[in-house]
Assembly symmetry: C2
Homo-oligomer: 412 residues x 2
Amino acid sequence: MSDQAKKKIKFIDGGICAPAGFTASGENCGIRKNKSKNDIALIFSDVPGSCAAVYTTNQVKGAPLTVTKANIADGKAQAIICNSGNANTCNADGEYIARTMCELTGKALGISPKDVVVASTGVIGQPLHIEPIAAGIPELVKKLSKDGSAEAAAGIMTTDTYRKEVAVEFELGGKKCRIGGIAKGSGMIHPNMATMLVFITSDVAVTAEMLKKALSEDVKNTFNMLSIDGDTSTNDMAVVLANGCAGNALIDCDGPDFKTFMKALNTVTVWLCRNIAADGEGATKLLECIVTGARSKKQAQTVAKSVVCSSLLKAAMFGADANWGRVLCAIGYSGADVNVGTIAVAFKSAAGTVKVCENGAGIPFSEEEAKAVLSEKEIEILVDLGSGKVRSTAWGCDLTYDYVRINGDYRT
Amino acid sequence: MSDQAKKKIKFIDGGICAPAGFTASGENCGIRKNKSKNDIALIFSDVPGSCAAVYTTNQVKGAPLTVTKANIADGKAQAIICNSGNANTCNADGEYIARTMCELTGKALGISPKDVVVASTGVIGQPLHIEPIAAGIPELVKKLSKDGSAEAAAGIMTTDTYRKEVAVEFELGGKKCRIGGIAKGSGMIHPNMATMLVFITSDVAVTAEMLKKALSEDVKNTFNMLSIDGDTSTNDMAVVLANGCAGNALIDCDGPDFKTFMKALNTVTVWLCRNIAADGEGATKLLECIVTGARSKKQAQTVAKSVVCSSLLKAAMFGADANWGRVLCAIGYSGADVNVGTIAVAFKSAAGTVKVCENGAGIPFSEEEAKAVLSEKEIEILVDLGSGKVRSTAWGCDLTYDYVRINGDYRT
């Protein structure tokens, strides 16, 4: 992104309610026994908008995905309802429950149930009872407000330790436009040609077709390059809802406006990726593997993702151990065809940069310096394949005692 | 395997020295600073034998693999030298060091260096000095004995907590035959069309061609179905050396003798797989995923391996949590084309069997009973795909605090 383009996109407050015409709310409706944790969220646009989504490639799919797919087949939506605490997946009555969630939401908002996106996240294979949701929806509608982003972001959290919400502002043809987003992490995260739960709002006027194109292109370089634990969820979904309230000239084809929109969207999605990775289950460190010198995008992406997925490397990063052999090992088994003899590796953080490997072999480095670099909260693993000019970034986190603790008794 | 065939194959003592004509030894030569841990092993056959091997598919390959591949290109070998504590991988002088190890071993034994198999295991990317090895080899040769299997098995261990050695006895045409094996685990284990470090000896008379066929067929169902942490090592290698000292009629084609040999080999390799998995880094439990009702071997294997590789399921098994949704999730993202609606899942151990999922949806079960089943040391995860008659087994272990501890500071 050029400096000029970056300057034009600025972070603002308000999350998913920052775009004009959007309100949101969240609450505890009783799915979770712990009343201090929200378990349901509602996002509403004053007017119907263009809607696009990408879904998990896991063949075991949450029932809400099937219902959402059908509902937005016309490229249109006006509201998003999402519960946490239960994935509504592998339940015999799952689709009935998901459809009922849309009907109850549509009724309370006075819109068609077909304009409602539905999502669920939490434990797989436990019946989701409709009663608390039915009781909670009217309350959620009453609470809808321009200040509701934080409550909604809290409503979709599972093992996340903090809310992920972000918004940016930029201009299209002199009109102020905004994109906001919320996301939930933080385990079973290994999006594969799809993504985790992400809801993005925008007041940009854009056709459903171009919105779909923007999202599909973007996730290849963002959510699909993120992994917490290698487990591709059954309920992954990223939805963008754009209502046109900014009053810009409708984006209906490629061109400067579409490119600006994509840059702004990418600013939001990269922010969400970095924060999902940093707040991965049990994580103490954000890992960012930046591969350069690749022959192709595919080669760069395959290598970058393999490195952030290695359990051994993730554990070494937790221990601030510059065990770069594990980086080489992960490159070697990535499936990408590489020239081992030209690979260089370095670790970088706020504490400095340490080169550890050149031409595929180790070089002397200060263990003390390396320890300092790897003791920071954000670590860059720099891999130069020395074979071309293409680059790619993947995000992940360290593997810690707390990941084991959290997942040793997730249900109980 | 039929009961009759099973009866004919019996476990015996002696490990890799159980087959006639084999001796072995192990010692600490100074690669490891801790003198109480062996770091080098030698296996010797009185006469040259047929030799076959399979290697890692990791593109970053240990130097010893290149040298071994060249040495046994003629299908013949007489000795195996292997050090632990250093992988001799990603070192500029790696091949020179590996070749020198063969030369020193050949000289001390009075055989051609071309008849020596060389292997290394340990940290990647740290120079391997030849001095301690050069000093240790004559000592190793002196120590060679029929009781040397345990010392040799100890010499190839890294983070293993116990030695893996096994031997079986069976008959071919009235002649008593034996196969012995040793292996090292226990991290960076995710063999992929290859395997980890395994050395198998036999006194069977078999051509190099048929030995290669037996090993290649066998690893598909054994070592390739094993995963500790998803990381395919750079130094994986499985070698079989068969010297013909049993005096059986030479196996030079498929037939009853070859089938008996394959069954005996499989008994050894399955034993090694189960023990490598049970002693995975930090492991407290052996996981065995048995997939039945598959349409094809590939479908069965893909599903079984995906299940034992899931970090989330591995952590749940550590916590004795019957979170079967994670089994369904791992099946769904395995890449195998499955019919979710016909899948059944049960957990089984010495404490009993608990069915948790039928027709792709949860069924009521006793959490107390499930906890008891999952608190045992060996857990079977039974997956019936309900689509055919093919079955497959994969082996793995739970993900524990100790895996993180061990790998947080492996080098330091």
